[in-house]
Symmetry: C2
Subunit: 197 residues, 2 copies
DNA sequence: CAATTGGCATACAGTGCGTATGTGAGTAGG
DNA sequence: CCTACTCACATACGCACTGTATGCCAATTG
């Protein structure tokens, strides 16, 4: 029986990722001391370097985890829509709502790109965009969306707009009102993709 | 005559900003050693701390300078358009083109937001968005753009989409082809703001 | 011409990252 | 069942970088 060993290792990795995720999500990547957050997980930097190579490696692992969770949440919400177009729109607005959470905003939209570069190049964190791309492709084949459009490109642009919308809401004095305005403007932009009669 | 003194000070500030701008724009904010780039300007960190307080303060100064330049360039190009809508579209595409430059991309869209937070909250770097907001407002009054839209919000979303478009082009294997696709997708999104017949 | 301001350099301390090395618990062969 | 090995993780060390406290010298002012 060689389970205990494997389980201990997985537990250690999990603890490190959880501690780092909390630190990165609150005080930010640059300010997070490896000594501090490994200690908060009851470990030392030795474990961190053994499992993740360096601080960036740990950030990658954290990002992969968050991306997976986001993809699940988006699919859950959007799959209930009546039409595919509505499905697509719901997917986008859910994305904005998730981007409102400080942890996601900080790690996925701020520190992540600054430390690891263009998110489009990340190896393990593209589930959300991939899903949006698929829907756009399908909508195009159904004739709902204009044909002259590269789906993945469009998905990325929408992504960018979403994150701005979320930041605007998050930093607003009156998030309720700002949210309405931001989502309205966002949907208006999406209308541009609709094929005209 | 107390020019020489003032001029020397301005020269020092200029040299520091230029050296930092180059370092930030190439190797990035986090990797740029203050000792190194102050030395490359023939100075030491003493001058830096005297004039800018800390590393972040210097980044702010660099960003303010770049923002000013960007605003000038946008206005130069866009002011030649025949219609106001075209003027607005040109403004956006010019913005994308500028965002293609590695220095601007790195400092304004990656490291800047990571270190200083939401660009919308920056005190001295909003000239570009302000201009776009103005045009959207005017277009709205002329009935070209849908009335039910907050101009500043829309400007920010477009900003986000622009920066994604630029990153996509910049990281592409075939920038020429990607550029066409990205700008086409971008214009398609903008069409959503047009009032329909 | 003396006094003072302040621009900038130098010296110092704290902290954090990365690496090299050590140790003890689990694992495999005889 | 005992020994040798592996490997997860800790400890110890060196280096680089930021920020602050202090010092010096030139320019300004009366």
């Amino acid at each position: 029986m060689h389970r205990p060993r494997k389980e201990m290792i997985a537990a250690t990795r999990g603890k490190l990722i959880a501690a780092a995720r909390h630190a990165f999500g609150t005080i930010g990547y640059a300010e997070a001391s490896m000594d501090d957050f490994t200690a908060s997980a009851g470990l030392t930097r030795g474990a961190l370097y053994h499992h993740f190579g360096d601080k960036k490696g740990l950030l990658q692992a954290v990002i992969a985890e968050i991306d997976g969770e986001m993809a699940v949440r988006v699919n859950e919400v959007a799959s209930k829509a009546p039409t595919r177009w509505q499905h697509f729109v719901d997917e986008c607005t859910t994305y904005i709502e998730m981007a409102l959470e400080p942890e996601i905003q900080r790690i996925m939209f701020r520190d992540g790109p600054a430390v690891l570069g263009d998110p489009a190049q990340w190896p393990n964190a593209n589930a959300c965009t991939a899903s949006m791309t698929d829907h756009l492709t399908a909508l195009q084949q159904e004739g709902v969306v204009v044909a002259d459009l590269d789906p993945e490109t469009a998905a990325r642009l929408i992504n960018g707009a979403s994150s701005q919308a979320a930041q605007r809401i998050a930093n607003s004095k009156d998030p309720e009102a700002t949210s309405k305005k931001a989502i309205a403007a966002f949907k208006q932009l999406l209308e541009g993709l609709h094929k005209r009669a």
